[in-house]
């Protein structure tokens, strides 16, 4: 054994690693009791999770690259860390349980019905004309771009924030003829005279005409 005075941090790390090896295992009877108690709290139907969307997004993201993603990575992304997955990978029983669990999650959180899509009009359909034969001005259309960004709070409540974007090109002009156009980039060509002491007087009232 090394002289105590020469013990370095490196030696302490080595000793800690040795200490790791001399770990006490979970007494089997305590473990089985605890497991029984834990699972006893879980109803047969499982527990309902409010944030299935998260799992759904994880899985949807994975589907696109499914060919590249191995089972271990899949398990890792769904929540198990690398060390955990190693343990799972070495235990066929756990692999089966997790695969069942994963399939279950995927089946459960997948939408039961596909999203409703509005039928697009047939391509040969023309816009109906008015009596005078003029084509009516199409109604101004707003393009609402909604981006639903769920932000997850630590307590797990999902707070979606809705960002609405209005396409400015389709904005209707309320009174296009009467409203003067204002161009902020235009510079005044002549002095309007709205300065102190420089208010222009009408030509008839001028006294000091040359």
């Amino acid at each position: 054994m090394k002289n105590r005075a020469r013990i370095t941090e490196k030696d302490v790390k080595a000793l800690l690693a040795k200490l790791r090896g001399s770990q006490t295992e979970y007494p089997p009877e305590l473990l089985s009791n605890r497991r029984y108690m834990f699972l006893g709290r879980v109803p047969q139907a499982g527990i309902f999770i409010a944030n299935a969307e998260i799992y759904k997004r994880i899985l949807q993201g994975l589907r696109s690259t499914a060919s590249l993603v191995t089972r271990v990575v899949l398990l890792s992304i769904i929540g198990l860390s690398a060390a955990g997955t190693t343990l799972v990978a070495t235990n066929p029983g756990l692999i089966r349980v997790f695969e069942e669990g994963l399939n279950n999650i995927e089946r459960i959180i997948a939408p039961a019905t596909p999203l409703e899509t509005l039928p697009s009009p047939p391509p040969d359909q023309k816009i109906p004309t008015t009596r005078s034969g003029e084509t009516p001005t199409p109604m101004p259309t707003f393009t609402l771009v909604s981006t639903l960004t769920p932000s997850i709070t630590p307590l797990g409540t999902q707070t979606p924030t809705l960002a609405l974007g209005i396409n400015p090109t389709n904005m209707p002009n309320a009174n296009p003829t009467n409203t003067p156009k204002f161009n902020p980039t235009n510079t005044p060509k002549d002095n309007p005279g709205h300065h102190y002491g420089q208010t222009p007087t009408p030509p008839g009232k001028r006294t000091n005409t040359p």
């Binding site: 473990l31 198990l80 756990l94 669990g101 459960i108 039961a112």
Partner: protein, 179 residues
């Protein structure tokens, strides 16, 4: 009167018992070891395992649960439980610690020769602060990475490095100074 058509019921969102049992099987042992290293009492460690998984189930059913790493999440729950216990111990009479120290003193008084490993185990308990203890145990005995520990303890990675450095030098000093 137009009768409203009933759409298909939304799919239930649930985690079944199999998954939860597998999660328990995966982490109960490591949480037990972590707890045992901190409290040195198998019954208390077992109780902590129970608390951790009860809280885990509660969080998941409330819509919480892990975002990325399940292991980090489970350890985080355990860490919070320990910190609560530590605060409780500071407020009340430290019966557990006193008992533990009495046991150690009696061993010392009997003149039982302690090995370096035992001394180290004792130094972890006696000489380190609560946070240093967690960092050292999680890093060198549970084998977690610095980033994971930072996530568990809710601290910056540099703070974890600093806690680790101070903890290691304290342990080194305690082993060197031991008569």
């Amino acid at each position: 009167m137009v009768e409203k058509k009933k759409g298909p019921e939304p799919p239930p969102n649930r985690l079944d018992q199999g998954v939860l049992a597998a999660i328990f099987d995966l982490y109960s042992r490591s949480i037990f070891r972590y707890a045992l290293r901190l409290c040195e009492d198998p019954l208390e460690a077992d109780q902590i395992v129970g608390d951790v998984f009860a809280l885990f189930q509660k969080q998941v059913s409330r819509g919480g649960g892990p975002r990325t790493e399940l292991r980090t999440y489970v350890y985080k729950i355990a860490y919070r439980i320990f910190m609560d216990h530590a605060r409780e111990r500071q407020r009340t009479v430290p019966t557990g610690t006193a008992e533990l120290n009495r046991r150690r003193d009696s061993l010392d008084s009997l003149g039982e020769k302690q090995t370096l490993l035992e001394e180290l185990g004792s130094a972890i308990q006696k000489n380190l602060t609560e946070k240093q203890k967690h960092v050292i145990i999680l890093r060198y005995q549970e084998g977690l990475g610095l980033r994971e520990i930072a996530d568990i303890m809710g601290k910056d990675i540099n703070a974890i490095k600093s806690l680790q450095k101070r903890g290691l030098s304290k342990l080194q000093k305690s082993l060197v100074d031991k008569p």
